[in-house]
Symmetry: C2
Subunit: 702 residues, 2 copies
Amino acid sequence: MTNQQNSANSTATWIWYPGDYEIWLGNKVNNRRTDRGAFFPPFWKQDSHYVTVEFSTTLSLAKEETVTLAAEGKYNIKIDGKMLFGMPSRLVLPAGEHKLNIKVWNQLTPPALFVEGETVHTDGTWKVTNEDKEWIDDSGKASDTSASVYMDAGYWNFNTIDELPSQFKLTRQHQEPVAMEPKSNGRLYDFGKETFGYLHFDGVKGTGIIYVYYGESAEEAQDKDFCETLDQFEVKQDGTMVDLQSNTPFTDGITPNNKAFRYVYIECDDTVTVDRVSMEYEYLPVDIRGSFKCNDEEVNQMWNIGIYTLHLTTREFFIDGIKRDRWTWSGDAYQSYLMNYYLFFNSECVKRTTWQLRGKDPVTAHINTIMDYTFYWFMGIYDYYLYTGDAHFVTQIYPRMQTLMEYVLGRTNSNGMVEGQSGDWVFVDWSPKPMSKQGELSFEQILLCKSLETMALCAEIAGEGDDHLRFERLANHLRKQLLPTFWDATRHALVHSVPSDCRMPSTDAAITRYANMFAIFFDYLDEQQKKEVMEHVLHNDAIMPITTPYMRFYEMEAMCKMGEQADVLRQMKDYWGGMIRNGATTFWEAYDPNAENHLSMYGRPYGKSLCHAWGASPIYLLGRYFMGVEPTKPGYEEYDVRPSLGGLKWIEGSVPTPNGAIVLRMDENRIIIKSTEGLGHLHLPGRDVIDIPAGEMVSIEY
Amino acid sequence: MTNQQNSANSTATWIWYPGDYEIWLGNKVNNRRTDRGAFFPPFWKQDSHYVTVEFSTTLSLAKEETVTLAAEGKYNIKIDGKMLFGMPSRLVLPAGEHKLNIKVWNQLTPPALFVEGETVHTDGTWKVTNEDKEWIDDSGKASDTSASVYMDAGYWNFNTIDELPSQFKLTRQHQEPVAMEPKSNGRLYDFGKETFGYLHFDGVKGTGIIYVYYGESAEEAQDKDFCETLDQFEVKQDGTMVDLQSNTPFTDGITPNNKAFRYVYIECDDTVTVDRVSMEYEYLPVDIRGSFKCNDEEVNQMWNIGIYTLHLTTREFFIDGIKRDRWTWSGDAYQSYLMNYYLFFNSECVKRTTWQLRGKDPVTAHINTIMDYTFYWFMGIYDYYLYTGDAHFVTQIYPRMQTLMEYVLGRTNSNGMVEGQSGDWVFVDWSPKPMSKQGELSFEQILLCKSLETMALCAEIAGEGDDHLRFERLANHLRKQLLPTFWDATRHALVHSVPSDCRMPSTDAAITRYANMFAIFFDYLDEQQKKEVMEHVLHNDAIMPITTPYMRFYEMEAMCKMGEQADVLRQMKDYWGGMIRNGATTFWEAYDPNAENHLSMYGRPYGKSLCHAWGASPIYLLGRYFMGVEPTKPGYEEYDVRPSLGGLKWIEGSVPTPNGAIVLRMDENRIIIKSTEGLGHLHLPGRDVIDIPAGEMVSIEY
């Protein structure tokens, strides 16, 4: 469903200050990480909700109406400025035009409100503020220059009075292990594939400690000294069980801690026995709206493993991976968003993650402390608008875009470029060899430039004309400097970096793939330069290779943009196929086909995450560059289709749109497309563009 | 006790992020206001604590040490970067040099920590941060450019492991009413004087509702329709009682709501009876360290009523009054601070109130939304330093002074002056006739100038040399404009305001007392101008009189500065004496000797507060301008004494200093002074300055 503005819902829903629920929920989620039984919160700041929020609406009632009311927090109610006694849960609203204001205070969870009557109910049309600035003069008259900032209420899908937003939980499903094997002093359980959830103990007898070691691999689970996650549970005399890491009791034999694992190794004190161990799988209910199939079963398997990888990491938020951090990381999330548009088209999770990552003002660090991650955050917002057409969200979040961009601009050097300052993590990628993070990195300037362009676009959507012009000017200014600063014509490439006191690339400056591939699909190079980059960088084995699916995502994208789907397919089968041949049931954080050990990372034997969202890029590549569908006007009002078999015999599938889908089948002779909405433009090499009107099947032989 | 820096305490104390406990406690206090049974939080933003805080210290232990540990929140422990399993409450610290880091997460109450061992314990030397920015590279190595901002830990007096900061409560004392009288359908209880606390019910029988109406006057308590505060309590079948406003149960027959009252009128449903009603008086335990006595019993009574008024409003924070707002208001608090230095010398309450009023960044409004109240906030910090010598506090709060001043400077006009913008409450005072709040008010510029001077002084204390120069320059620039802009030489006065496009006072501009009296004691006028102002403004009945004790405080101060103690004494006996003759047991929010009704304000019959901190100014005037004591170097390292009988036959008393007192007795022939610390300088008219060395009694005949 499109969500062009916060329209009046037909039914009541719980409302809150926009972004606040997301930020609060983010703290819960990000603070669930444990590291070998220790609580492990993020190292960046954690914001929180506004503790006191005023909700308001104007009433225009033909007749008196009785509404029921509930709030999460202590509250008061004003009708036309007059406060009512106490905290009534039923309210008689008088006929006629009236103002209704409800103020809620809650330190623990976000102030939230639910009102339901015959015609009056809480929805996204209500206004909220965290400071009403309503002072009175000595006669008791209220001020008339309050300058309060009112936002439209935030909401999700808590649509009955009993579904308290603070009590939200993901869905659970009971699952049994596929195998159990006695090992040394305990038992090794295998759940058959990578999974996530809560262990479930049945038939526990005696008293003492149960020691649990989790593993994404059998090796990890059995390595008591080095597995990344573990638990200790105490069985008490009354039979109750307690998690000793968090001092939290079990419910019905189920642990309070969710964990990622395929294998679980369990040892018990001699005084305790356990009959059966199973699990409660935990997941976000999503519709799988995108589909893909082709004649190559390995590619189909990649699509399916991609679905499962992305589903496991699509939760309260798009998180990086399920074993270790389980945090919201902006660069990771940005790729999840793009994959999501070709699979779940789950707008709510994109919005939640965007609010959560941004947090509150003041900005005191880059998002996740990473400079590049700040830029992906901006870029994700315009993408979201383009895929969904939801201008309202852009308008709501625009003030936080402004303050974040002011932070960025406050850290540019005299050339208007960003360099890592103290406290900035200049990440780019995990690389097999050290890369410089000093001076002006071409990669960071390209992302900054794109972010400024994004600001200009979003300013226009938010109706901020002055900002639009200002950011357009800043973007153009930077854009004009990019090539003079970084392009090395002799070597046919953008260099990795230049010192900030130098205005041209040095002949011995390193060349890396990052800036070059982004410059291709951002169209920052001309066609000749793009071809040079393909030859001298992307197809040049002397240039440091990329070993994370994270940056391979963009490398493949650049190649697809250049029409090299056949090569991409070959590399996909080699790289993602390689993981599958190494037993992957979900895609990994990093993969080096030449490495012997696929489990270690960060100097730890099982440091690598074996279910990492950024591993699932085949979803995006197949949707966007094989089925070839991309929106060209917001919310698929118009879109392009540039299908490519890339050497496959046939492909078929569907790409979700806000209210429907574009269904496509292509083989070596014919392409058939039908969509439920929007005007499509089919681009086939050597042919005029063919329009695809909504609802009509277009079948083309070629 | 002076608190020059956050020194190592000899015993353990609970610690937190500085200011966070105060901001959190402030929400609890400010949100206790009720208005006729409705929850009534402030209309300005309410900030909250950082939910995740890292505490750290470095250890240097001769031998291994076992410590006990408790936290308010979920926590982890790192020794030399290695996290321990779970949340241990005992910890073995190894001998040698080590780093100890503990991270605590708490959404509901401020993360707080208590560690106690033989030599290791939490105190103000621990460091805290809300973002440690400790990322790792792909080898697992921690970043070395984190740029985290570390503050010294905040603490108060929670010195045992069981005294959880979040559980803090003021002290209570049982008190009985002095009279009970049946009235109409209920009973009127009189507690003999203004008081504050919780009603206590004994011998309650039956089931039904008890209706309670509070009054600072007997009239108010008996006016069910217009009394400012009321309660409804339900007696349930099992005998338990519930407050219906907040749905909170009673404890031992005591209400959960504290209220201000002298009188309480109670009606019950026919189905309920109450045997006895008493109260639990609630107060902050303070030492009354200042004293004053003289030959005039009315003046002594003023001093004593001042003590009681100030004590009732000196609580978790210095609040405005106890009946209605019970909020922290910066302009009110500023006067409480000054009175406090001559009575309780309670440094902790000054610091708590200063942190609480300021809140967190970003600054989105003036303090309490009032422009003048922002300026008093700055001024209060340097005063605190001057009286206590506590440079550490200035350094800790300096970053919030900076950001607040940036907000102010961001709202100055092209003349560098402040004008009320949308959302700014330009208060000045409650005045008997309307006064202009438009254009450049001389009063606001004078406060801004003093605030800039304060910034310059505090920047120097905080070691911020560039800021020191910048604010000194800004203050000088503004100072030089004050007289050219506002001084009307013809009328011998500063005019109230000028339009912002006009660079000189108009001959028909209004003249008010505010700017003129501040310019006297800020020394912004020369001696001749001061005399002119006294004659043409302060002693001119044609100029609008002041009817609040709030601004009379400064009016009296200006007169004292000009040596007019005798006139001040006369006016005190007239004005504060007038309240006493009208039955005051505490001093009021406003008093017009000519008014018939002393209860109404804000268009409400009992809107006026009859126990208002700013009413207690005789405390300050008698201490500072009759006993005549004021510090001239921080923490009374040096001080002046300029005693004045002001027409009294004798005065005697003591003025508290950080670690002692200055004791003084004076009659028409002799003055005797002795102090426990600091070097005093006694100024007597027509005589050379006489030094008062600490510990020596100085006795002078004149």
